[in-house]
Amino acid sequence: MKLASFDPPANLTDFNPKLRAAWNTYISYTLDQNIQALSSAVLNPQFYNATKIDTPANPATDQITWIGFPRLISLKYPDDDRAAWQEADTPLASGERPQDEYLEWFVERVNNKVTRVTFTCEGPEYWEALAHGYPLDYDGPKDPAVKGDTATLLALYHQNISPAVQLNDLFSDGKYNRLNKWNTSRGAMHLNQRNNTLGAEINIAAQATILRRDQTGQSITDADELIKCAKFGQPGRASDPTIGDHVNTLARDGYLITLQDPVALYISDINTAGFVTPNNSDARQYFNVVRGSAGMVVRAIFEVPASEGFAVGDITIEGQPIEFGGQIAEHITMKLTGLAFGRGQIQNPSQQCVDQKFALKAKIKPMTRRHSG
């Protein structure tokens, strides 16, 4: 059966009914734009909009997972973990975080000791929709009756960041500012790294449904070779090649593919093996979900209650005291879930590798990921 509508990420309840409807329109339109772009490359696009095409009961589900610490930074410092943690924890001059695996974090310290690390994987589009009704980059049909809900927006900042947040702080020239001070130097309300967007996630999944072949005509089946060929992201990241390869494998098997509703990136799990606390307690209990729910976590805080008598910075991971948020991020798994059905039903011919990003060629708004440098 068809999906009635696309829900907000993690089924969050911040949206009023009009904003919920607008969110459904936005996700549906974004999927359609990507499918339309695919149509210029293949006869039968294998990416579909679940509100428009029936999904049978019990489709195949594929959980795609990766580690939340920026792999490109890990690769930059193969023998110096500390340098990698430091770089990952240090924002760019603009306030943009260099954390590009759809997981970002904010570290709080008291007397130079880490006391709390807040993790988020919420896309900026959700917050722009709260502010304006629709995400800022959205150029599809709009209901003029849909307005932003700035009271809820401010209340969420108050609740999650600081009671000191002023509404004006969140806007610049009348537009919601992803890089406002409460989402950069003073906190992390949502993702702010330029490539960490829901749109990018959808775009990568869509492009990865195109089968690829190399110059010898052989089908490309390896994650690294695929991303180099299809150019839907950057080789070396943990997320992009993994997402692309999973989707492409399903496409080669002839499935029709989409992303599971609610479409979003989620924190899957934290592995606290190797975390040693001063009182030998289980460190997993200090990782608490504050937005989302089991299986759909979008915000979590790692913090030790004062009653324990020690702080996050007193915990060691593999013998090293926690001094950086990245040390914890290395143990957090991210996920998104693909849905697929109709194995073997579609057999598109494979395409040659692309010189330019397919999204650009297809004249849709480029949402593929760029290296933040």
Partner: protein
Amino acid sequence: MEDGHNTGATAQSEDLLDAADIQANSLAGFKNDHQFFLFAAIDDVPTAKHWLKQILPRIATLDEVVPHNLEFKRLKRLKGIDPPGLRAIWMNIAFSAPGLTKLTSPSEVQGFSTTFVNGLHMSSPSLGDPTNPTAEGNPRQWRVGSPQNLADIVVIISADNAADLESTTENLKKSMFGSDHTKLAAFHSVFEQRCMVRPDQSGHEHFGFKDGISQPAPRGRVNNAPDSFLSPRVIDSSDRRSVMFAEPGQPLVWPGQFVLGYQRQDSHNALNPLSAAVPTPAWARNGSYVVVRRLKQDVPAFWNSVFQLAADAKFAGLSPERLAAFIVGRWKSGAPIMRSPTADNMALAEDDLANNDFGFKDAVLPPPIIPSMKYGGDHFPTSPDDLLGLVCPHIAHIRKANPRDLPTDTGGRNDTLTRMILRRGIPFGAPVANPMVPTEQELATERGLMFVSYQTSIKNQFEFLLNHWADVDDQPQSGGMDPLLGQRFDSSGVNRRKILIPAADGSLQQAEVDATWITPTGGGYFFSPSIAAMRDRLS
């Protein structure tokens, strides 16, 4: 040309290994049925150095062991049995960081990797071992390797028959510990472990499964002849896999992943290696890091768990043997379930050119084999694509430890090659005849696996496999921990693992396993130096 394909690593591009300088158990491996592990502490440094100088000619190197292993394999293929006339006794040595510190200096040892210097007991929590100091698997309870009983040195003796092993071991102990009390002894014994392959099922570990089938094939040549490959190639050059695999399913890996000072695997391109890194200290060249873990196996607990799963209505219609095969990824014979999904297949298990030839993500067709092998062909069912884990579950031990062609969060199949280790484990203790009805004597006896692995980065290879994949529910794919090696103890000390495995109708069903099947009871991180290093720097 697309990266990773048709450049072809040529014979000339493969490292010329310093075969007379490298201890053999790393790249070649001792294949004998009997082994003895002697863990010792250095009491008197000058005497220990003198002992080391005396023992050096006895240390087995690649140039001795490689020809022996090749001849053994050739004769076995020819006759179908272990060649009875081919006997050998080998010895290798490795030192812990405290041991090297005694023989050199603290500053010298600081050049080695931090993980090695800190030692296995310090890494134990990140490997999932219980952190409760009273738990059996906690380092404080270990037979060797706890902060109270660290070994400075481990000597591995390997022989084809028990008598040879006993006499060699006896002589070795005399040389290390002294034959009387009048002389100053160089060492004292910390722990000793006699090991042997199972007499009832050669090559099988104690749960009953054939072990050690899948190993990476180190690249490199052992002499100047262009075809003197350490890992002979059997795939016909007409197939592109001939430059990627030594045998079907056995990937070629650059030797710098296992021995320091050689070209290393690039995580993006299997054929273009990274240049050799200069080891620190420089005399570490031709040496390897060695992980030793004494793993106690509770055989009745394993099979009781499996029978309990089989009794669960969710898994009605599945035999205990099949559920156990889901847990391991292979049938007891060693036949992979990817190629024999519903029943064991002895012929497949015994065919070395077929029993390791499969992927998880994409269907694999057998490659052509060079004519000189006189191979009759691989006519077994081919492995299908199985991204979703419906044939071989995501949690299967062999899938967790080696995801082969699957993408992982750290890259594609080329990155997985950088994680590989050379395993040289061997069982200890007597087998249990019937795990469901063990005798009192069997229950009172310890058994398990002396796990040994060789690598050049303990952190990025051995530890990564455990703490990044085996112990994690959703890596490399979701579905649960590796139920064999994964450990997660809750506050009440129960090792609780949730796993997704296929039911008879093909749906994935969750099961929970609470029994501890494998308990670490000792070990250490060691460094196996080159002959030159032992001669010039350590003795």
